[in-house]
Amino acid sequence: LNWLHEYLDYDLSAAELVDLFSLRSQEIDGVYRLGVTDGEVVVGEVVEFGPHPNADRLSVAKVDLGGREVQIVAGAPNPYPGARVAVVLPGSVMSNGTKLREAKLRGLKSYGMMMSERELGISADHGGILLLDDSYEVGRPVADYFPVGETVLDIDVTPNRPDLWGMIGVARELAAILKTDYRVPEPSFEAGGEPTRDFGLRVEAEDLCPRYDLRRVSDLQAGQEAPLWMRRRIYAAGMRPINAIVDATNYVMLETGQPIHAFDAARVHEGIVVRRGRAGEKITLLDGSTRVLNEETLVIADEERGLVIAGIMGAEDAEVGEETTDALIEAANFEGRNIIQTSQKLGLRTDASGRFERGLDPNMVAYAMDRVSAMLTQAPGGKPADDTLSHYPEPVEPWGVPLRLGRAELLLGMPVQEDEAVGRLEALGCEVEREDGVLWATVPTFRRDLRREADLVEEVGRLIGLDKVPESLPAVPQAGALTAAQHKIRLLRHLLADLGLSEAITYPFGPERWKLDLGLDDGVVALENPLSAEGGTLRTSMLPGLLDAMARNRAFGTRGGALFELGNVFFADVPLDELREAALLFRMTGETGAHDAGGLMGVREVGKVGVVLAGTVRPAGWNVPEIQAGFFEAKGLVERLVPGARFVPVARPYLHPGRSAMVLVGEEEAGWVGELHPEVAGKFGLRGWPIAALELDSDLCHPDPEPRFEPFVNVPAVARDLAVLVEERIPVGDMLRLVADLQSPLLAEVRVFDVYAGSPVPEGYKSVAFGFTFQGQKTLTDEEVDSEVGCIRSKLEDEFDARVRS
């Protein structure tokens, strides 16, 4: 924040600034503090320095703080009598929140502390105590020379605002918010260094490099460190100070947003070439890694070899180093999309590439070049050349965007005064002309995101303040409602939950083994880039995901439970070869041509209801037995979800062959229900647990059909039971259907209340007991009922060879 003050004056606390910036511009991700948060740091001169009598690793110093001498115990051995140091006084609060107190260390009193660079928030250096040069006057507050504490705001810049990647941009933004002025430092320097034109500049890949400027700075002093103020700003911005030259380039990048690269001129052969990489070309980068390039990689090279992967990272080869005295400074503009692609391909993102990939303003290059030249004349004492080599064939000019006030008021839903709008746009750097309610804004080239009227509306709106927008509700000209299908899905979910099941939502992708373990043979949709092989294919059934969840529950000790999930399953529906091209066209452009969009998708999604019952579904009470997962438990649910469904034995590799059924609605297959095949249970870690499951097309479920009133009369009903012996193999469902097919007008209800095999029922037979309820339009006589039962009985005898048990 001290840095920001260089460009504009404002009177806000850090917290106020965070609030204001968040509400008018960009989100602030964090607020960090460095150095001394609150307290006093003064320049001291070491008078005596020697080992601590009671501790090997400690030293003790007598320090003159300007008129008074104090004793300070130190951990570092580097001070010496006569050295000037920064002493933080007791009572001060450090950035980590600790409050410094006058203390006794190993028996010796210590008044305050001599500070390292890290403690002052200058760098990460904690190797020794910072020694100040003689220009620092003993006894004066260090804050007279540089800030001893710093507050750093971490702004989360949205991708449309690369102009905020530099401190000047932030200052401009804040000035626009506060309606105040900001200052851009005027770079001034004395040129006269060795000429740049001793080197060549050739841009071969113009499409990837709209602008490239090169300036030589000679007569640099080798091995210099950047001035303290610069180092602490670089450090506060999260970068590492390196040397005077690199720090100057980084500093100007942080200030302007324009990345700058410095080459050691002595190591550049003949000149700079901006070209595409050659197939197989290799380059060893500063981070020590060797990268293989291709023709999509933009390279900054000399006549012999690649020096930098453009906009991303330089090679060791031609970097400026301790001995550099003559440098070539690059300020350039690279095509953002290519930088993204290269950076993604290499898996390498740097401070520079992050800025280039958003698309920078090529007109920023010139200012940044001058600014860095000025910086290089300072600490390393360089001389910039009089000439600059520049490749900038198509200069970007400011463009005009109209803004109708009426349009702004419509979009924002609040009144916008013309003067206000003009003022806000001008504060952002636009030139504005008024013309009958239309504002013609000439947009500065650093705001490449402002292209259309809506873009300007946003700027005006946010700077006026979104808090000023009044809340209102539109008059919606239609009745809201769920469709019948949506309503049914919700009904199914609520129904299953009411029946005691818990709703799960599981990932629809799983491992290849799902298909194998279940013995499924449908076309599976594979992910190109799964997070792991465990999630490489899309489910074709709700079952495996729910089984995995159940296995997990079992591992954590549950005795059983019931899960359900509503969701989609996915089947590969690969278009025919001759449709392949049409399919790709549809997927990329939305054009279906003469084809049906469904056939071009390539994936068919079906909405399913899946249920898994496992272990003890209902625990025993003191007066009721427990209920275990089983076929009939699951079937009962199907009967509730699809009343009137038919059940036909079915063979599915994942189901118990004798305890599974296909569910039919009319003639249509709606799904299946059954007990899990024990072998499959084993594969899912559920061995030995009773598991029953079902899966239904949600479309074909109709749990609560539209009710239809049936008239009834108030006459007594007559109940009759009938027990018959039939061969074991006869399905009871067939017998029930037979009874239903009779369509007896008197039969109101039939249920099966007992099925029994074993003595005294003969071997190979079972006894099935039916309970009938008869009811007519008038009170039935015994004869009428007898005749009806007799009719049912003779049908059962004819059809199933049934014998009535007496």
Partner: protein
């Protein structure tokens, strides 16, 4: 002993038998013994005809009186005894009411779905319809139609699961909005709930999560309508007292773009140690904005005639905040210990 005397005698025997009977069964015996078909009193009544005429009247009267008196005594005694017997029976039927009842299994809806239902119901109440679309989406609908052509930087913001060429798992439900606008002219008022997918996994990011996006396109829609609508929704979901604020933001398919914060419904910004808002006082809730004119053009709407707003929220995150769940991954593990809490 005269007949009348005998009647008197029978009567007093009967009355004392009644009063000494302790159960309804005994009383029934008494009734049979004294008033039954073969009881002496009944016999006397039957024999009245054989008596001398002067006796007849007297015997008739006194035997009838005796019957009535015995019946009355039986009646009131029976009532007394029956009431006592009933009480005894009820006393014997008492149960330990502290024993658990027959278990009625309680099921559970998923917390994300509860929030989705809540939000959807709110918008349906305002007149919105619910639009849905496929989870496997084409490149065009998921990106290009929303102003994100191939190679666009915004594609790098979203880690996409790719399938066969040109297909991916949708990274947002925005595609549904495009699909809706392509088949329907304005006005449009829809919400689009559904699962979306991004290649990401940590405590606050799962490769699948939910979105509810909304879209309104009509004549004269403003940012004020957006703000009012979302404010009302926030109060519906988090309580009448919450406040909202808009912050500028950036999304590819809206301009202006905003983010909506909801004041902390737990501490309202008064507790620096609040676990829900972490002391910030505000919770980031959703992204929104006025529909970019380019998007309207893409689907053939005239952006000069129609304006619109769109918004998108994460019901999982809302559920985390609302119910205090620290880890998003819990939502999708099917863990009964988790699901049974909702």
């Amino acid at each position: 002993m005269t007949v009348s005397e005998r009647i008197e005698q029978l009567k007093s025997e009967a009355l004392s038998a009644v009063s000494s009977s302790a159960s309804t069964a005994d009383l029934e015996d008494v009734r049979v013994r004294f008033l039954g078909r073969s009881a002496e009193l009944t016999e006397i009544k039957k024999s009245i005809g054989t008596l001398a005429p002067e006796e007849r009247k007297e015997v008739g009267r006194s035997s009838n009186l005796a019957s009535l008196e015995i019946e009355a005594a039986l009646g009131s005694r029976t009532e007394e005894v029956a009431a006592r017997e009933r009480e005894e029976r009820l006393r014997a039927e008492a149960v330990d009411v502290t024993l658990p009842g027959v278990p009625v299994q309680r099921g559970h809806l998923h917390p994300s779905q509860m929030v989705i239902d809540d939000v959807v119901d709110f918008f349906v109440g305002l007149g919105y319809r619910v639009a849905e679309g496929p989870e496997v989406e084409t490149d065009y609908f998921n990106f290009t139609a929303l102003g994100i052509p191939p190679g666009h930087p915004a594609r790098s913001m979203q880690d996409t699961f790719f399938l066969d060429e040109g297909l991916s798992l949708r990274t947002h439900t925005s595609a549904v909005q495009i699909r809706t606008m392509l088949v329907q002219g304005p006005p449009v008022y829809i919400v689009c709930p559904g699962r979306v997918y991004r290649r990401d996994s940590d405590p606050t990011h799962t490769p699948m999560f939910h979105q509810v996006e909304g879209l309104a396109v009509d004549r004269g829609l403003t940012l004020g309508h957006l703000k009012g609508t979302l404010g009302a929704m926030a109060r519906h979901v988090f309580g009448e007292d919450v406040e909202i604020r808009l912050r500028p933001s950036y999304f590819q398919y809206t301009e202006p773009s905003v983010e909506l914060d909801v004041s902390c419904f737990v501490c309202a910004g008064t507790d620096p140690a609040c676990k829900v808002c972490k002391g910030a006082g505000w919770l980031e809730m959703l992204g929104a904005g006025m529909v970019d004119p380019g998007v309207l053009e893409e689907v053939g709407y005239d952006p000069e005639e129609y304006t619109g707003y769109a918004f998108g929220m994460g019901p999982d995150r809302m559920a985390m905040v609302k119910y205090g769940v620290p880890d998003l991954r819990l939502f999708f593990e099917g863990d009964l210990r988790f699901l049974r809490q909702f």
